[in-house]
Structures are given as structure tokens and as C-alpha cells.
Symmetry: C2
Subunit: 126 residues, 2 copies
Amino acid sequence: MEETPSCRVETALEILTGKWKPSILLELITHDTLRFSELKRNLPNITQKMLTAQLRELELNDIVHREIYQVVPPRVEYSLTDYGKTLIPVLNAINAWGEKHVEHLAQKDMLQDTTPTLASSTSDSF
Amino acid sequence: MEETPSCRVETALEILTGKWKPSILLELITHDTLRFSELKRNLPNITQKMLTAQLRELELNDIVHREIYQVVPPRVEYSLTDYGKTLIPVLNAINAWGEKHVEHLAQKDMLQDTTPTLASSTSDSF
DNA sequence: CTTCATGGTATCGTTTAGGATACTATACCA
DNA sequence: TGGTATAGTATCCTAAACGATACCATGAAG
């Protein structure tokens, strides 16, 4: 087991990467607690398999908590763990940079084609 | 083109993901300017193909600059662009969280097996 | 005339991530 | 008796990422 910055960055990025994990995390940040079916509804293009898989990985990494109610039909609620909440500043930093980057890309493209520009909403946090 | 936090986070993560991009960026952060062969030497397991590919993507995204000297044998130097340097705080945030996460994983594992622990170096930046 | 170093490409194969679709258990409700 | 809702699994397939290996151009040094 190595202990380099690169190792740490990769370890952290493993948690965030996965086609749906950022969306799932942002959902749980803004909604606090969501049932499986609510998450699925809010993420229109995800398949059930992927949603389950990504939630399981996040659960394994102690980022999300899975609460099962023994009722029929089943009720399962997902939420961030306290530890998962420590990711919020990281996501905020990424989000802020991402916003700048979208602008940056737009400027680069404007030098070539004529894609219309969007007025920036300048929202640095969720 | 959407304009949601999730979109921005994903756009930003696209730049950081790729098996070798974090390592490459950290190399360029700590060494300022590196030749192709130096990068390859410092990243022992990368193949030439992957190194070229990832550098090209970073170049396309205006994160790294590629300076070609017309000499033989060829000399090509890579460095961060000014824009690329704006990624440094983001990588620092990810690195800091990653360090906590490595500790967190170690604590979880200690409850099960007997893997020896490393004294933390508590280095929050590069 | 050959060898060497550098910074690449090209081609092919494997591995992994992700997607489509079908199936399941359970209790309630009509 | 049959349909419904929820939260999943199981199976199969495709596409993309990644890796191994071989090849190439150039000019200087020997």
C-alpha cells in the first residue's frame, strides 16, 4: 500500500467516478433522504442495475447509509453518512471549477463556431 | 447543453479521470516542466501509448502545454498552462480528502483483520 | 554503415464499465 | 384469483478503456 499524493487522489477519485455517482451524491446532498424509487425517478436515464450497483459501492465506502424498513412493498431509504458529508466541500470545489471550465470551453469554441452563449448563473455552491 | 451542478461536476471530473491523469498532473505540478521521457520514467507502469493519449487529452482541454523543439533526437516538454494551474486547489482538496479516506479505510479494516497501520504524514498539500 | 536516443503511431487483444431486458418475493387490495 | 407496487437479481451484450507489442523518422556519434 503506497502513500503518495497520487495514490490519495486516486483513492478519492475512485469514490467520485462512476457514471452516476456524482448525480447520486448531489441528489442526496440536496434531498437528505431518498427512497430507491425516488432516486430512480430523479435520475431519468439510470437503469435499476446501475443504481443498485453504484449505491452498493457508496455504501461499502461508508459514504451512504441504507435503511431498510421491513414492510411490503419494500421501503429502502438512502442518505449520506456523516462521513459521506465530508465530501461536500470537495464536491463544491469540483463544482466551482467545473463552472469555470464550462465558460472556458465556451470561450474557446467561440473562436471557431457560432454556438450561442449562456449567461452565467455564477452559483458556486448547491 | 445542460447547466446543472451534476453536469458541472461531471465536466470537471472528465478532466481528472483517466487512469493516469492524476499522476501526470501531480508530476507537472511538482516538477513544473518535464520531457516526455522524464514523465515516462517517473510513471513506471504507464505505456507510451497511454502517456501520449492522456497528454493529448489534457492538451486539448488546455490543461497542459506541449512545447516542441525542432532538434534530433526530438525534445518535447510538457508543462501546466496557466489555466491548468487553476486545477491545483481542486487537486489539493481531493488530496486532503483522500488522505482522510485512507485513514478511514484503515480504521474500518482494523475492526476486521490485522493489517499493520502506517503513521500518518499529515501532508495536506504537495 | 551502423547504432542510438527520442517521441511518437499502428495494430491487436483483453478487461472493465455500462446498458437492455427479463425475472423474483411479498403482502395488500379488489 | 389476479393485479399492483417496491426493491431488487440474473443474464447477456456492446462499447470504451486500457495494455502489449511492433514499427517509424531523424541526425549525430562511432
